[in-house]
């Protein structure tokens, strides 16, 4: 799983990597130049030291050089990142709304026909298609950062920020909230799964699986225990908007926003004692159910894919 600026896999991340290479390379050259001058000023001959101390040297290396270098760098970076600054004339090929909430990601895939499909905590992207991420926050400032795909962009209450991403190859990348947002901020991550475009379309429009005879009991307990007051599952008696949509929770790689790998055991742990796994999260611990009932709920959730 890739979470590195140095292994870019998207157009913007590549530009950032280029800029970073230039910045660090140039800085290294300047650093060694300065060190060489410092050495010469200590151990060099009289004429060398006099040249270093001359007024002309100070004007050239101390004033002219930085002004020219930094100006060049500024224009280069403006040119490089022009796509981010100018905005986009062409409409995006897809739109995904991402709302950062304390401390998870509410993700809505907006279909060309306006249909909205709710998901959470895992972002699936089509390879080779430019997608616009619409970034909002209902509570505090968060920041979306998928280092391998693009730069970070803050999500600010009352504001809508837009970010274009296009991804070069299928794979799994990791993103994180990059702005301290309270208690379990460090446990607010997500996976990005880049799929071939046809596969992506099939997934977005696909029906929710689950509901085998084996999981009927779990579904019954899930519904009567009030899970649906906070969580939504398409096709079940559960339409809550407080917490993450669980329609395909069993198909996600992680639960609790990148905190634990998805498994029946981990779901049970989170339901019974989520506060010790992700302290401060808004879900109360449901310690009052019998162990087999919670296990049945977890089995039902695992079947939702």
């Amino acid at each position: 799983m890739n979470q590195s600026v140095l292994e870019p896999n998207g157009a913007e991340a590549e530009r950032i990597a280029d800029l970073a290479l230039m910045l660090f390379g140039g800085a290294a050259i300047i650093f060694f130049g300065v060190m060489a001058l410092a050495a010469a000023s200590v151990w060099g001959g009289v004429s060398v030291r006099r040249a270093i101390a001359s007024e002309r040297m100070i004007v050239a290396a101390g004033i002219a050089f930085p002004v020219i270098t930094l100006t060049a760098l500024l224009f280069y970076s403006l040119w490089l990142m022009r796509a981010n600054i100018q905005g986009n004339a062409t409409p995006p090929a897809g739109r995904i709304e991402v709302a950062a909430e304390q401390w998870w990601w509410r993700i809505t895939y907006v279909e060309p026909d306006g249909r909205r499909i709710s998901e959470a905590n895992e972002l699936r992207l089509p390879v080779g298609r430019e997608v616009e991420l619409v970034l909002t926050s209902p509570d505090v400032i968060h920041s979306l950062w998928i280092p391998a795909i693009g730069g970070k962009l803050d999500m600010i209450p009352g504001r809508t920020n837009r970010m274009r991403v296009s991804i070069d190859g299928p794979g799994i990348y990791r993103g994180q909230c990059a702005e301290y947002c309270g208690g379990p901020h460090a446990l607010m991550a997500f996976d990005v799964i880049a799929l071939e475009a046809t596969e992506f379309d099939a997934w977005v429009r696909g029906d929710v699986a689950g509901g085998s005879t084996e999981t009927v009991r779990g579904r019954g307990i899930f519904e009567e225990s009030g899970c649906g007051s906070c969580h939504a599952v398409r096709g079940a008696n559960a339409s809550g908007l407080v917490g993450p949509d669980l329609s395909r929770v069993g198909g996600r790689r992680t639960i609790a926003a990148g905190t634990l790998p998805t498994s029946r055991e981990n779901l049970t742990r989170f339901i019974v004692d989520g506060q010790s796994i992700k302290p401060g999260n808004l879900m109360p611990p449901f310690g009052l159910f019998a162990a087999e009932d919670v296990d049945a709920i977890s089995a039902y959730l695992m079947s939702l894919q």
Binding site: G226, G240, V242, L282, P284, L288
Partner: protein, 361 residues
């Protein structure tokens, strides 16, 4: 130097006095007059120094009735009550518990509150078992304010409600199959078949789920749910008695909603209860507390608004216990505003229970 020597001598003398066994600790002997005066002086000043200066409105029929019902079960054994003397056993304690009807006027409301809450060291007066339930303690103070004016008949009306305690015949009493004080302990506050609670500060148990009733009693018995009134009663129950009580109240038909004036808005409360407030991270109440919710959860329809508000406020303030149900409700209640608590309490209080087998369809 002389001062240190003097203090040292004093400590040594006190130690010798205690070590010699000269002092008689017998409760049968009483204190010397001067010692009695000294202890009383110290006690009164200690209470006055610590008591709160403000009190809630105590002229409140619900508070008084709750306090009266608790007094009958919790206090009268030692302090007596109008129409019944304290046990001869406690009269031979030292100090012997006073007749409160004669004493309460010496204390302010805050001082009575402090005494009931904290008890008295070396005097046999226990502290309130649930130190975070000031609301319950004020109900006892509210009742104590009424006590001097009560005769036996009015006291029974208040404390026993209309519960007719029939201790059974002589055989049942002789073989302890019937405990004349225990019978009616629940009904004194919560009512019974067709008769609602005497006070709006306690829940209506009629028609609640058996699982929830039994769980609540067990939580009280284990101290996971805090109440100075319920904990001692529940702790005295054997597991079979808990099951029997839960079955009894679960089988009673639910009561029709009361017609008290509503403090909050029923319409606003209905919105919150049925849809929640996702922006404020508040889930819909009825997902758990409606008529088709899990039997692990209480049904809230028809519950008194004052009881609901008080419970929500206690959770919001981080009080009330450590039980699993507390762990679920406390974080949700913490997100509610005062107005939302009033509204949602008004809504549930106005609702009629549906779907109980004891009700006509």
């Amino acid at each position: 130097m002389a001062f240190v020597l003097l203090v040292g001598l004093g400590v040594a003398a006190a130690f010798l006095f205690a070590a010699s066994g000269v002092y008689n600790v017998a409760a049968s002997r009483g204190h010397w007059w001067i010692v009695d005066q000294f202890l009383r002086f110290g006690m009164e000043n200690s209470v006055k120094a610590r008591a709160p200066e403000t009190s809630p409105n105590l002229d409140d029929a619900d508070l008084i009735r709750l306090g009266a019902a608790h007094f009958h079960g919790g206090c009268a054994f030692c302090h007596g009550a109008p129409g019944s003397r304290p046990s001869p056993v406690v009269q031979h304690m030292l100090p012997s518990p006073p007749d409160l009807a004669e004493r309460v006027d010496r204390w302010t409301d805050g001082e009575l509150f402090w005494l009931v809450k904290h008890g008295l060291k070396y005097a046999g007066m226990p502290a309130w078992p649930a130190q975070d339930r000031d609301d319950e303690i004020w109900s006892v103070v509210a009742f104590l304010r009424q006590l001097p004016d009560l005769d036996a008949r009015h006291y029974e009306e208040l404390a026993l409600a209309e519960v007719q305690v029939d201790g059974g015949g002589g055989r049942e009493l002789a073989t302890a199959e019937s405990d004349p004080d225990g019978v009616g302990a629940c009904a004194r506050c919560h009512g019974d078949a067709g008769r609602g609670p005497q006070t709006k500060l306690v829940p209506r148990l009629q028609g609640q789920s058996r699982d929830w009733l039994a769980r609540s009693l067990r939580d009280y018995a284990e101290g996971a749910r805090h109440s100075g009134i319920m904990q001692p009663l529940a702790a005295a129950l054997k597991p079979e008695a808990i099951e029997k009580l839960a079955t009894y109240y679960a089988g009673l038909p639910p009561l029709a909603p009361d017609d008290d004036p509503r403090r909050g808005s029923v319409e606003e409360g209905q919105k919150l209860a049925t849809s929640g407030d996702p922006g404020a991270e508040i889930p819909a109440c009825i997902s758990c507390h409606g008529s088709d919710g899990s039997p692990d959860y209480p049904r809230l329809a028809g519950q008194p608004a004052r009881y609901l508000s008080a419970q929500l406020a206690a959770w919001r303030n981080g009080k009330g216990g450590t039980s699993p149900t507390h762990a679920i409700m406390a974080p949700i209640a913490a997100r509610l505003t005062d107005q939302q608590i009033a509204d949602v309490s008004a809504f549930f209080a106005s609702q009629r229970v549906v779907g109980h087998p004891g009700l006509a369809p």
